[in-house]
Symmetry: C2
Subunit: 306 residues, 2 copies
Amino acid sequence: MKVAIVGAGAIGMLTACYLADRRHDVVLLTQRKEQAERINDHGLQLIDFYGRTQRKAVKAKTLAGLTEKDQLDVVILTVKAYSVKDVLSQLKDKRISSILFLQNGMAHIDYFADLPIATVAVGVMEHGAVRENDHTVRHTGRGRLRWGYVRKEAALLDDLFAADSGEDAFPVRYEGDWLEMLQQKLIVNACINPLTALLGVKNGELVTSRPRKEMMRAIFTEVMQVLERDDEEERWAHVVRVCEQTASNTSSMLVDLSNRRQTEIASISGYLIRLAEQKQLAVPVLNFVTMAVSSKEEAARKEGDD
Amino acid sequence: MKVAIVGAGAIGMLTACYLADRRHDVVLLTQRKEQAERINDHGLQLIDFYGRTQRKAVKAKTLAGLTEKDQLDVVILTVKAYSVKDVLSQLKDKRISSILFLQNGMAHIDYFADLPIATVAVGVMEHGAVRENDHTVRHTGRGRLRWGYVRKEAALLDDLFAADSGEDAFPVRYEGDWLEMLQQKLIVNACINPLTALLGVKNGELVTSRPRKEMMRAIFTEVMQVLERDDEEERWAHVVRVCEQTASNTSSMLVDLSNRRQTEIASISGYLIRLAEQKQLAVPVLNFVTMAVSSKEEAARKEGDD
Protein backbone atom coordinates (compact mmCIF):
# COMPACT_ATOMS: atom_id res chain seq x y z
CA MET A 1 0.00 0.00 0.00
CA LYS A 2 1.29 3.44 -0.91
CA VAL A 3 1.25 5.69 2.15
CA ALA A 4 2.29 9.34 2.35
CA ILE A 5 2.85 11.01 5.68
CA VAL A 6 2.64 14.78 5.52
CA GLY A 7 4.70 16.57 8.17
CA ALA A 8 8.11 15.32 9.28
CA GLY A 9 8.04 16.45 12.90
CA ALA A 10 8.25 14.01 15.80
CA ILE A 11 4.79 12.49 15.23
CA GLY A 12 5.21 12.22 11.46
CA MET A 13 8.62 10.55 11.71
CA LEU A 14 7.45 8.17 14.45
CA THR A 15 4.39 7.10 12.47
CA ALA A 16 6.48 6.62 9.33
CA CYS A 17 8.94 4.36 11.16
CA TYR A 18 6.31 2.00 12.51
CA LEU A 19 4.30 1.87 9.29
CA ALA A 20 7.48 0.98 7.39
CA ASP A 21 7.80 -1.97 9.82
CA ARG A 22 4.44 -3.16 8.53
CA ARG A 23 5.93 -3.40 5.02
CA HIS A 24 4.01 -0.50 3.54
CA ASP A 25 5.53 1.75 0.90
CA VAL A 26 5.94 4.85 3.05
CA VAL A 27 6.99 8.28 1.83
CA LEU A 28 7.50 11.17 4.23
CA LEU A 29 6.51 14.54 2.75
CA THR A 30 8.51 17.38 4.26
CA GLN A 31 8.18 21.12 4.12
CA ARG A 32 11.93 21.73 3.67
CA LYS A 33 13.93 20.22 0.79
CA GLU A 34 16.96 19.97 3.08
CA GLN A 35 15.15 17.64 5.48
CA ALA A 36 14.01 15.33 2.64
CA GLU A 37 17.60 15.10 1.41
CA ARG A 38 18.92 14.28 4.85
CA ILE A 39 16.39 11.51 5.31
CA ASN A 40 17.23 10.05 1.91
CA ASP A 41 20.99 10.29 2.64
CA HIS A 42 21.03 8.95 6.21
CA GLY A 43 17.84 6.92 6.30
CA LEU A 44 15.09 7.63 8.81
CA GLN A 45 16.33 6.63 12.25
CA LEU A 46 14.17 5.49 15.13
CA ILE A 47 15.51 5.39 18.68
CA ASP A 48 13.08 2.94 20.19
CA PHE A 49 11.81 2.50 23.68
CA TYR A 50 14.85 0.48 24.70
CA GLY A 51 17.29 3.06 23.33
CA ARG A 52 18.11 0.99 20.25
CA THR A 53 18.65 2.90 17.02
CA GLN A 54 17.05 1.37 13.93
CA ARG A 55 17.16 2.52 10.34
CA LYS A 56 13.82 2.39 8.53
CA ALA A 57 12.94 1.97 4.85
CA VAL A 58 11.27 5.33 4.43
CA LYS A 59 11.83 7.68 1.53
CA ALA A 60 11.24 11.39 1.68
CA LYS A 61 10.39 14.20 -0.67
CA THR A 62 8.94 17.66 -0.35
CA LEU A 63 5.19 18.14 -0.28
CA ALA A 64 5.62 20.66 -3.09
CA GLY A 65 7.39 17.96 -5.14
CA LEU A 66 4.31 15.73 -5.19
CA THR A 67 2.90 15.51 -8.73
CA GLU A 68 -0.53 14.74 -10.10
CA LYS A 69 0.79 11.37 -11.23
CA ASP A 70 1.35 10.27 -7.66
CA GLN A 71 -1.48 7.94 -6.68
CA LEU A 72 -1.69 7.63 -2.92
CA ASP A 73 -3.72 4.99 -1.11
CA VAL A 74 -3.49 6.67 2.25
CA VAL A 75 -2.36 10.14 3.33
CA ILE A 76 -1.69 10.72 7.02
CA LEU A 77 -1.64 14.38 8.00
CA THR A 78 0.61 15.02 11.01
CA VAL A 79 1.21 18.75 10.54
CA LYS A 80 0.22 21.26 13.26
CA ALA A 81 -3.45 22.20 13.29
CA TYR A 82 -2.79 25.71 12.00
CA SER A 83 -1.10 24.30 8.86
CA VAL A 84 -3.93 21.96 7.85
CA LYS A 85 -5.72 24.46 5.63
CA ASP A 86 -2.59 25.25 3.66
CA VAL A 87 -1.60 21.57 3.26
CA LEU A 88 -5.09 20.57 2.09
CA SER A 89 -4.97 23.20 -0.61
CA GLN A 90 -1.63 21.74 -1.78
CA LEU A 91 -3.16 18.25 -1.88
CA LYS A 92 -6.29 19.41 -3.74
CA ASP A 93 -5.49 18.01 -7.20
CA LYS A 94 -3.80 14.81 -6.04
CA ARG A 95 -5.29 11.33 -6.33
CA ILE A 96 -5.85 10.22 -2.74
CA SER A 97 -8.13 7.37 -1.66
CA SER A 98 -8.10 7.82 2.12
CA ILE A 99 -6.91 10.44 4.54
CA LEU A 100 -6.21 10.28 8.28
CA PHE A 101 -5.95 13.50 10.32
CA LEU A 102 -3.73 13.50 13.43
CA GLN A 103 -4.03 16.97 14.95
CA ASN A 104 -4.55 18.41 18.40
CA GLY A 105 -7.75 20.30 19.06
CA MET A 106 -10.86 20.10 16.92
CA ALA A 107 -10.56 23.01 14.51
CA HIS A 108 -9.72 20.63 11.63
CA ILE A 109 -13.08 18.87 11.69
CA ASP A 110 -14.54 21.83 9.82
CA TYR A 111 -12.62 20.73 6.69
CA PHE A 112 -14.13 17.23 6.51
CA ALA A 113 -17.39 18.11 4.77
CA ASP A 114 -15.91 19.70 1.63
CA LEU A 115 -12.94 17.38 1.28
CA PRO A 116 -12.77 15.69 -2.19
CA ILE A 117 -11.47 12.43 -0.66
CA ALA A 118 -13.79 9.45 -0.31
CA THR A 119 -12.57 8.02 2.97
CA VAL A 120 -11.84 10.34 5.87
CA ALA A 121 -10.57 9.27 9.27
CA VAL A 122 -9.33 11.09 12.31
CA GLY A 123 -7.05 10.03 15.13
CA VAL A 124 -5.39 11.13 18.33
CA MET A 125 -1.77 10.34 19.06
CA GLU A 126 -1.03 9.20 22.57
CA HIS A 127 2.50 8.04 21.83
CA GLY A 128 5.20 10.41 23.00
CA ALA A 129 8.01 11.30 20.61
CA VAL A 130 10.84 13.81 20.43
CA ARG A 131 12.52 14.96 17.22
CA GLU A 132 16.27 14.50 17.77
CA ASN A 133 17.30 15.92 14.40
CA ASP A 134 16.04 16.14 10.82
CA HIS A 135 16.20 12.38 10.30
CA THR A 136 16.00 10.92 13.82
CA VAL A 137 13.05 10.51 16.18
CA ARG A 138 13.01 9.15 19.72
CA HIS A 139 9.97 7.22 20.94
CA THR A 140 9.62 8.52 24.51
CA GLY A 141 6.17 7.42 25.61
CA ARG A 142 4.33 4.25 24.66
CA GLY A 143 0.64 5.03 24.39
CA ARG A 144 -1.77 4.31 21.58
CA LEU A 145 -2.64 5.73 18.22
CA ARG A 146 -6.44 5.86 18.43
CA TRP A 147 -8.40 6.46 15.26
CA GLY A 148 -11.89 6.17 13.73
CA TYR A 149 -13.65 6.67 10.40
CA VAL A 150 -15.52 9.91 9.78
CA ARG A 151 -16.75 8.42 6.46
CA LYS A 152 -15.71 5.13 4.92
CA GLU A 153 -15.73 4.27 1.23
CA ALA A 154 -12.79 1.90 1.34
CA ALA A 155 -11.29 -0.04 4.23
CA LEU A 156 -7.70 0.90 3.40
CA LEU A 157 -6.97 2.16 6.89
CA ASP A 158 -8.12 -1.16 8.39
CA ASP A 159 -5.62 -2.84 6.09
CA LEU A 160 -2.92 -0.30 6.96
CA PHE A 161 -3.11 -1.11 10.65
CA ALA A 162 -4.12 -4.77 10.19
CA ALA A 163 -0.80 -6.22 11.30
CA ASP A 164 -1.32 -4.70 14.72
CA SER A 165 -1.62 -7.25 17.50
CA GLY A 166 -2.16 -4.65 20.22
CA GLU A 167 1.01 -5.90 21.89
CA ASP A 168 3.67 -4.56 19.60
CA ALA A 169 5.85 -1.48 20.03
CA PHE A 170 3.32 0.86 18.45
CA PRO A 171 -0.21 -0.02 19.62
CA VAL A 172 -3.06 1.21 17.46
CA ARG A 173 -6.71 1.12 18.46
CA TYR A 174 -9.86 1.60 16.44
CA GLU A 175 -12.54 3.81 18.00
CA GLY A 176 -16.14 3.64 16.84
CA ASP A 177 -17.04 7.14 18.10
CA TRP A 178 -14.49 9.56 16.63
CA LEU A 179 -16.24 12.69 17.94
CA GLU A 180 -16.18 11.38 21.50
CA MET A 181 -12.52 10.43 21.08
CA LEU A 182 -11.63 13.95 19.87
CA GLN A 183 -13.67 15.62 22.59
CA GLN A 184 -11.99 13.63 25.35
CA LYS A 185 -8.57 14.61 24.02
CA LEU A 186 -9.68 18.22 23.54
CA ILE A 187 -10.80 18.47 27.19
CA VAL A 188 -7.38 17.30 28.35
CA ASN A 189 -5.50 19.60 25.97
CA ALA A 190 -7.66 22.64 26.78
CA CYS A 191 -7.02 22.17 30.50
CA ILE A 192 -3.31 21.33 30.48
CA ASN A 193 -1.69 23.07 27.51
CA PRO A 194 -2.59 26.76 27.88
CA LEU A 195 -2.15 26.74 31.67
CA THR A 196 1.28 25.10 31.62
CA ALA A 197 2.25 27.57 28.88
CA LEU A 198 0.98 30.58 30.83
CA LEU A 199 2.55 29.59 34.16
CA GLY A 200 5.70 28.01 32.74
CA VAL A 201 5.26 24.74 34.67
CA LYS A 202 5.41 21.02 33.89
CA ASN A 203 2.20 19.02 33.56
CA GLY A 204 2.42 17.52 37.05
CA GLU A 205 2.71 20.93 38.71
CA LEU A 206 -0.90 21.72 37.76
CA VAL A 207 -2.15 19.31 40.41
CA THR A 208 0.46 19.74 43.15
CA SER A 209 -0.52 23.35 43.94
CA ARG A 210 -3.97 24.35 45.20
CA PRO A 211 -4.26 27.63 43.23
CA ARG A 212 -3.02 26.00 40.00
CA LYS A 213 -5.47 23.12 40.38
CA GLU A 214 -8.30 25.61 40.99
CA MET A 215 -7.31 27.53 37.85
CA MET A 216 -7.41 24.31 35.85
CA ARG A 217 -10.81 23.47 37.34
CA ALA A 218 -12.10 26.91 36.29
CA ILE A 219 -11.01 26.23 32.70
CA PHE A 220 -12.41 22.69 32.87
CA THR A 221 -15.83 23.92 34.08
CA GLU A 222 -16.21 26.24 31.10
CA VAL A 223 -15.05 23.53 28.67
CA MET A 224 -17.71 21.15 29.98
CA GLN A 225 -20.37 23.84 29.64
CA VAL A 226 -19.43 24.49 26.02
CA LEU A 227 -19.38 20.78 25.14
CA GLU A 228 -22.65 20.22 27.08
CA ARG A 229 -21.40 17.00 28.63
CA ASP A 230 -22.81 15.33 31.71
CA ASP A 231 -19.84 13.18 32.76
CA GLU A 232 -18.06 15.98 34.62
CA GLU A 233 -16.50 13.94 37.45
CA GLU A 234 -15.25 11.20 35.13
CA ARG A 235 -13.65 13.70 32.77
CA TRP A 236 -12.06 15.70 35.62
CA ALA A 237 -10.59 12.52 37.07
CA HIS A 238 -9.15 11.80 33.62
CA VAL A 239 -7.56 15.28 33.32
CA VAL A 240 -5.97 14.96 36.77
CA ARG A 241 -4.75 11.45 35.91
CA VAL A 242 -3.09 12.70 32.71
CA CYS A 243 -1.33 15.45 34.72
CA GLU A 244 -0.05 12.81 37.13
CA GLN A 245 0.95 10.28 34.49
CA THR A 246 2.80 12.90 32.42
CA ALA A 247 4.02 14.83 35.48
CA SER A 248 7.54 15.49 34.23
CA ASN A 249 6.47 16.32 30.65
CA THR A 250 6.65 19.81 29.22
CA SER A 251 3.46 20.42 27.25
CA SER A 252 3.78 21.02 23.52
CA MET A 253 2.34 24.51 23.99
CA LEU A 254 4.99 25.47 26.54
CA VAL A 255 7.67 24.01 24.25
CA ASP A 256 6.27 26.02 21.33
CA LEU A 257 6.29 29.25 23.37
CA SER A 258 9.82 28.62 24.63
CA ASN A 259 10.99 27.98 21.07
CA ARG A 260 9.12 31.06 19.82
CA ARG A 261 6.96 28.96 17.54
CA GLN A 262 3.27 29.42 16.84
CA THR A 263 1.14 27.47 19.34
CA GLU A 264 -2.01 25.42 18.73
CA ILE A 265 -4.10 27.68 21.00
CA ALA A 266 -6.48 28.59 18.12
CA SER A 267 -7.39 24.97 17.40
CA ILE A 268 -7.77 24.02 21.07
CA SER A 269 -9.12 26.92 23.20
CA GLY A 270 -9.99 28.99 20.13
CA TYR A 271 -12.23 26.19 18.80
CA LEU A 272 -14.09 26.08 22.14
CA ILE A 273 -14.50 29.87 22.19
CA ARG A 274 -16.00 29.84 18.67
CA LEU A 275 -18.35 27.04 19.74
CA ALA A 276 -19.34 29.04 22.83
CA GLU A 277 -20.12 32.05 20.63
CA GLN A 278 -22.40 29.92 18.45
CA LYS A 279 -24.18 28.72 21.59
CA GLN A 280 -24.17 32.24 23.11
CA LEU A 281 -22.35 31.03 26.21
CA ALA A 282 -19.99 33.26 28.20
CA VAL A 283 -16.53 31.72 28.67
CA PRO A 284 -14.54 34.47 30.43
CA VAL A 285 -11.77 32.20 31.71
CA LEU A 286 -11.23 30.50 28.34
CA ASN A 287 -11.08 33.92 26.74
CA PHE A 288 -8.62 35.19 29.33
CA VAL A 289 -6.23 32.25 29.13
CA THR A 290 -6.35 32.29 25.32
CA MET A 291 -5.45 35.97 25.22
CA ALA A 292 -2.68 35.35 27.74
CA VAL A 293 -1.09 32.66 25.54
CA SER A 294 -1.59 34.82 22.43
CA SER A 295 0.13 37.75 24.11
CA LYS A 296 3.06 35.57 25.13
CA GLU A 297 3.24 34.19 21.58
CA GLU A 298 3.29 37.74 20.22
CA ALA A 299 5.99 38.82 22.70
CA ALA A 300 8.12 35.76 21.88
CA ARG A 301 7.80 36.49 18.15
CA LYS A 302 8.89 40.10 18.69
CA GLU A 303 11.91 39.01 20.74
CA GLY A 304 12.74 36.64 17.90
CA ASP A 305 12.67 39.55 15.45
CA ASP A 306 15.19 41.57 17.47
CA MET B 1 4.17 68.03 66.39
CA LYS B 2 5.34 64.52 67.18
CA VAL B 3 4.98 62.28 64.16
CA ALA B 4 5.80 58.57 63.90
CA ILE B 5 6.04 56.89 60.54
CA VAL B 6 5.65 53.12 60.71
CA GLY B 7 7.40 51.24 57.94
CA ALA B 8 10.79 52.28 56.57
CA GLY B 9 10.40 51.16 52.97
CA ALA B 10 10.52 53.60 50.06
CA ILE B 11 7.21 55.30 50.87
CA GLY B 12 7.91 55.54 54.61
CA MET B 13 11.38 57.04 54.09
CA LEU B 14 10.13 59.47 51.44
CA THR B 15 7.29 60.71 53.62
CA ALA B 16 9.62 61.06 56.62
CA CYS B 17 12.04 63.21 54.61
CA TYR B 18 9.44 65.69 53.42
CA LEU B 19 7.70 65.93 56.79
CA ALA B 20 11.05 66.64 58.44
CA ASP B 21 11.35 69.57 56.00
CA ARG B 22 8.15 70.96 57.53
CA ARG B 23 9.89 71.11 60.93
CA HIS B 24 7.93 68.32 62.55
CA ASP B 25 9.53 65.97 65.06
CA VAL B 26 9.63 62.87 62.91
CA VAL B 27 10.58 59.39 64.07
CA LEU B 28 10.76 56.48 61.65
CA LEU B 29 9.71 53.16 63.21
CA THR B 30 11.45 50.22 61.57
CA GLN B 31 10.93 46.49 61.74
CA ARG B 32 14.67 45.69 61.94
CA LYS B 33 16.93 47.09 64.64
CA GLU B 34 19.81 47.19 62.14
CA GLN B 35 17.95 49.62 59.88
CA ALA B 36 17.13 51.98 62.77
CA GLU B 37 20.83 52.02 63.76
CA ARG B 38 21.92 52.77 60.22
CA ILE B 39 19.53 55.68 59.93
CA ASN B 40 20.68 57.09 63.26
CA ASP B 41 24.35 56.65 62.27
CA HIS B 42 24.21 57.98 58.70
CA GLY B 43 21.13 60.18 58.82
CA LEU B 44 18.18 59.63 56.54
CA GLN B 45 19.23 60.56 53.00
CA LEU B 46 16.92 61.81 50.28
CA ILE B 47 18.01 61.85 46.65
CA ASP B 48 15.62 64.44 45.32
CA PHE B 49 14.11 64.92 41.91
CA TYR B 50 17.17 66.79 40.67
CA GLY B 51 19.57 64.09 41.87
CA ARG B 52 20.73 66.12 44.89
CA THR B 53 21.37 64.16 48.07
CA GLN B 54 20.09 65.79 51.25
CA ARG B 55 20.38 64.62 54.83
CA LYS B 56 17.19 64.92 56.87
CA ALA B 57 16.61 65.39 60.61
CA VAL B 58 14.80 62.11 61.16
CA LYS B 59 15.45 59.71 64.03
CA ALA B 60 14.66 56.06 63.91
CA LYS B 61 13.83 53.29 66.32
CA THR B 62 12.19 49.93 66.13
CA LEU B 63 8.43 49.64 66.33
CA ALA B 64 8.92 47.09 69.10
CA GLY B 65 10.97 49.68 71.01
CA LEU B 66 8.04 52.10 71.27
CA THR B 67 6.92 52.39 74.90
CA GLU B 68 3.63 53.33 76.51
CA LYS B 69 5.19 56.63 77.54
CA ASP B 70 5.54 57.70 73.92
CA GLN B 71 2.80 60.19 73.17
CA LEU B 72 2.32 60.49 69.42
CA ASP B 73 0.31 63.23 67.76
CA VAL B 74 0.20 61.53 64.37
CA VAL B 75 1.06 58.03 63.25
CA ILE B 76 1.44 57.41 59.52
CA LEU B 77 1.23 53.74 58.55
CA THR B 78 3.22 52.96 55.38
CA VAL B 79 3.64 49.21 55.84
CA LYS B 80 2.32 46.77 53.23
CA ALA B 81 -1.40 46.02 53.46
CA TYR B 82 -0.82 42.48 54.72
CA SER B 83 1.18 43.81 57.72
CA VAL B 84 -1.45 46.30 58.91
CA LYS B 85 -3.20 43.90 61.28
CA ASP B 86 0.02 42.96 63.01
CA VAL B 87 1.23 46.55 63.31
CA LEU B 88 -2.11 47.76 64.73
CA SER B 89 -1.93 45.12 67.44
CA GLN B 90 1.56 46.40 68.34
CA LEU B 91 0.20 49.97 68.54
CA LYS B 92 -2.83 49.00 70.63
CA ASP B 93 -1.71 50.34 74.02
CA LYS B 94 0.08 53.44 72.73
CA ARG B 95 -1.23 56.97 73.08
CA ILE B 96 -1.98 58.11 69.54
CA SER B 97 -4.18 61.08 68.65
CA SER B 98 -4.44 60.64 64.87
CA ILE B 99 -3.56 57.95 62.37
CA LEU B 100 -3.14 58.08 58.59
CA PHE B 101 -3.19 54.85 56.56
CA LEU B 102 -1.20 54.74 53.30
CA GLN B 103 -1.80 51.28 51.83
CA ASN B 104 -2.64 49.87 48.43
CA GLY B 105 -5.98 48.14 48.00
CA MET B 106 -8.91 48.52 50.36
CA ALA B 107 -8.59 45.59 52.75
CA HIS B 108 -7.43 47.93 55.55
CA ILE B 109 -10.69 49.87 55.73
CA ASP B 110 -12.17 46.97 57.72
CA TYR B 111 -9.97 47.97 60.67
CA PHE B 112 -11.26 51.55 60.95
CA ALA B 113 -14.44 50.84 62.94
CA ASP B 114 -12.82 49.18 65.96
CA LEU B 115 -9.71 51.33 66.08
CA PRO B 116 -9.20 53.02 69.52
CA ILE B 117 -7.85 56.19 67.90
CA ALA B 118 -10.03 59.30 67.72
CA THR B 119 -8.98 60.68 64.34
CA VAL B 120 -8.57 58.32 61.41
CA ALA B 121 -7.49 59.33 57.93
CA VAL B 122 -6.57 57.44 54.80
CA GLY B 123 -4.45 58.37 51.83
CA VAL B 124 -3.07 57.19 48.51
CA MET B 125 0.51 57.79 47.53
CA GLU B 126 1.06 58.89 43.98
CA HIS B 127 4.69 59.88 44.45
CA GLY B 128 7.17 57.35 43.11
CA ALA B 129 10.11 56.33 45.29
CA VAL B 130 12.80 53.68 45.27
CA ARG B 131 14.62 52.45 48.35
CA GLU B 132 18.35 52.70 47.53
CA ASN B 133 19.55 51.22 50.80
CA ASP B 134 18.55 51.07 54.48
CA HIS B 135 18.95 54.82 54.98
CA THR B 136 18.55 56.29 51.47
CA VAL B 137 15.48 56.86 49.34
CA ARG B 138 15.25 58.21 45.80
CA HIS B 139 12.24 60.31 44.80
CA THR B 140 11.57 59.02 41.27
CA GLY B 141 8.10 60.29 40.42
CA ARG B 142 6.52 63.56 41.48
CA GLY B 143 2.82 62.97 42.02
CA ARG B 144 0.65 63.80 45.00
CA LEU B 145 -0.05 62.44 48.42
CA ARG B 146 -3.86 62.51 48.47
CA TRP B 147 -5.64 62.02 51.79
CA GLY B 148 -8.95 62.49 53.57
CA TYR B 149 -10.52 62.09 56.99
CA VAL B 150 -12.51 58.96 57.77
CA ARG B 151 -13.42 60.50 61.16
CA LYS B 152 -12.10 63.74 62.60
CA GLU B 153 -11.79 64.59 66.29
CA ALA B 154 -8.76 66.80 65.94
CA ALA B 155 -7.36 68.66 62.94
CA LEU B 156 -3.78 67.52 63.52
CA LEU B 157 -3.37 66.24 60.00
CA ASP B 158 -4.44 69.60 58.58
CA ASP B 159 -1.71 71.15 60.67
CA LEU B 160 0.79 68.48 59.62
CA PHE B 161 0.38 69.29 55.94
CA ALA B 162 -0.40 73.00 56.48
CA ALA B 163 2.89 74.27 55.14
CA ASP B 164 2.05 72.81 51.74
CA SER B 165 1.76 75.38 48.98
CA GLY B 166 0.85 72.82 46.34
CA GLU B 167 3.94 73.84 44.42
CA ASP B 168 6.69 72.36 46.54
CA ALA B 169 8.66 69.19 45.98
CA PHE B 170 6.12 66.97 47.72
CA PRO B 171 2.58 68.05 46.82
CA VAL B 172 -0.17 66.96 49.19
CA ARG B 173 -3.87 67.26 48.45
CA TYR B 174 -6.89 66.96 50.69
CA GLU B 175 -9.81 64.89 49.33
CA GLY B 176 -13.31 65.24 50.74
CA ASP B 177 -14.45 61.79 49.58
CA TRP B 178 -11.95 59.25 50.87
CA LEU B 179 -13.94 56.22 49.70
CA GLU B 180 -14.07 57.52 46.13
CA MET B 181 -10.35 58.27 46.29
CA LEU B 182 -9.55 54.70 47.44
CA GLN B 183 -11.87 53.13 44.88
CA GLN B 184 -10.29 55.05 42.01
CA LYS B 185 -6.84 53.87 43.09
CA LEU B 186 -8.11 50.33 43.66
CA ILE B 187 -9.49 50.14 40.12
CA VAL B 188 -6.10 51.13 38.70
CA ASN B 189 -4.19 48.73 40.96
CA ALA B 190 -6.56 45.82 40.31
CA CYS B 191 -6.15 46.25 36.55
CA ILE B 192 -2.42 46.88 36.32
CA ASN B 193 -0.69 45.06 39.16
CA PRO B 194 -1.81 41.42 38.88
CA LEU B 195 -1.64 41.42 35.07
CA THR B 196 1.87 42.87 34.87
CA ALA B 197 2.90 40.35 37.55
CA LEU B 198 1.33 37.43 35.69
CA LEU B 199 2.72 38.32 32.26
CA GLY B 200 6.04 39.75 33.46
CA VAL B 201 5.66 43.02 31.55
CA LYS B 202 6.06 46.73 32.30
CA ASN B 203 2.97 48.91 32.85
CA GLY B 204 3.03 50.39 29.36
CA GLU B 205 3.02 46.98 27.68
CA LEU B 206 -0.54 46.38 28.89
CA VAL B 207 -1.85 48.86 26.32
CA THR B 208 0.54 48.28 23.40
CA SER B 209 -0.69 44.72 22.71
CA ARG B 210 -4.26 43.91 21.70
CA PRO B 211 -4.60 40.66 23.70
CA ARG B 212 -3.04 42.22 26.82
CA LYS B 213 -5.36 45.22 26.61
CA GLU B 214 -8.35 42.89 26.20
CA MET B 215 -7.25 40.91 29.27
CA MET B 216 -7.04 44.14 31.25
CA ARG B 217 -10.48 45.16 30.00
CA ALA B 218 -11.89 41.79 31.15
CA ILE B 219 -10.50 42.40 34.66
CA PHE B 220 -11.73 46.01 34.58
CA THR B 221 -15.27 44.97 33.60
CA GLU B 222 -15.57 42.67 36.62
CA VAL B 223 -14.10 45.31 38.95
CA MET B 224 -16.70 47.82 37.81
CA GLN B 225 -19.49 45.28 38.35
CA VAL B 226 -18.33 44.58 41.90
CA LEU B 227 -18.03 48.28 42.76
CA GLU B 228 -21.39 49.01 41.05
CA ARG B 229 -20.08 52.16 39.40
CA ASP B 230 -21.61 53.88 36.41
CA ASP B 231 -18.61 55.88 35.15
CA GLU B 232 -17.11 53.00 33.17
CA GLU B 233 -15.65 54.96 30.26
CA GLU B 234 -14.11 57.63 32.47
CA ARG B 235 -12.47 55.04 34.73
CA TRP B 236 -11.20 52.97 31.77
CA ALA B 237 -9.66 56.06 30.21
CA HIS B 238 -7.95 56.69 33.56
CA VAL B 239 -6.54 53.16 33.76
CA VAL B 240 -5.17 53.40 30.21
CA ARG B 241 -3.71 56.84 30.97
CA VAL B 242 -1.89 55.50 34.05
CA CYS B 243 -0.42 52.66 31.92
CA GLU B 244 0.82 55.22 29.42
CA GLN B 245 2.13 57.69 31.98
CA THR B 246 3.98 54.98 33.92
CA ALA B 247 4.88 52.99 30.79
CA SER B 248 8.44 52.15 31.80
CA ASN B 249 7.58 51.37 35.45
CA THR B 250 7.68 47.87 36.86
CA SER B 251 4.60 47.44 39.06
CA SER B 252 5.15 46.83 42.77
CA MET B 253 3.50 43.41 42.41
CA LEU B 254 5.90 42.32 39.69
CA VAL B 255 8.82 43.63 41.78
CA ASP B 256 7.53 41.69 44.79
CA LEU B 257 7.22 38.46 42.77
CA SER B 258 10.69 38.91 41.25
CA ASN B 259 12.15 39.47 44.73
CA ARG B 260 10.21 36.50 46.11
CA ARG B 261 8.31 38.72 48.53
CA GLN B 262 4.67 38.45 49.47
CA THR B 263 2.47 40.51 47.12
CA GLU B 264 -0.51 42.72 47.95
CA ILE B 265 -2.88 40.59 45.85
CA ALA B 266 -5.08 39.80 48.88
CA SER B 267 -5.75 43.47 49.65
CA ILE B 268 -6.34 44.42 46.02
CA SER B 269 -7.99 41.62 44.00
CA GLY B 270 -8.75 39.59 47.13
CA TYR B 271 -10.73 42.50 48.59
CA LEU B 272 -12.81 42.70 45.41
CA ILE B 273 -13.42 38.95 45.40
CA ARG B 274 -14.68 39.06 49.01
CA LEU B 275 -16.94 41.98 48.10
CA ALA B 276 -18.26 40.03 45.09
CA GLU B 277 -19.03 37.06 47.34
CA GLN B 278 -21.05 39.31 49.67
CA LYS B 279 -22.98 40.61 46.67
CA GLN B 280 -23.26 37.11 45.15
CA LEU B 281 -21.61 38.21 41.93
CA ALA B 282 -19.50 35.86 39.80
CA VAL B 283 -16.02 37.21 39.08
CA PRO B 284 -14.30 34.36 37.20
CA VAL B 285 -11.51 36.47 35.72
CA LEU B 286 -10.64 38.16 39.02
CA ASN B 287 -10.57 34.72 40.63
CA PHE B 288 -8.37 33.33 37.87
CA VAL B 289 -5.82 36.13 37.90
CA THR B 290 -5.66 36.10 41.71
CA MET B 291 -4.97 32.37 41.76
CA ALA B 292 -2.35 32.85 39.05
CA VAL B 293 -0.47 35.44 41.12
CA SER B 294 -0.86 33.32 44.27
CA SER B 295 0.58 30.30 42.48
CA LYS B 296 3.56 32.34 41.25
CA GLU B 297 4.04 33.68 44.78
CA GLU B 298 4.00 30.13 46.13
CA ALA B 299 6.46 28.93 43.48
CA ALA B 300 8.81 31.87 44.14
CA ARG B 301 8.70 31.14 47.88
CA LYS B 302 9.56 27.49 47.29
CA GLU B 303 12.48 28.42 45.02
CA GLY B 304 13.66 30.74 47.78
CA ASP B 305 13.61 27.83 50.22
CA ASP B 306 15.85 25.69 48.02
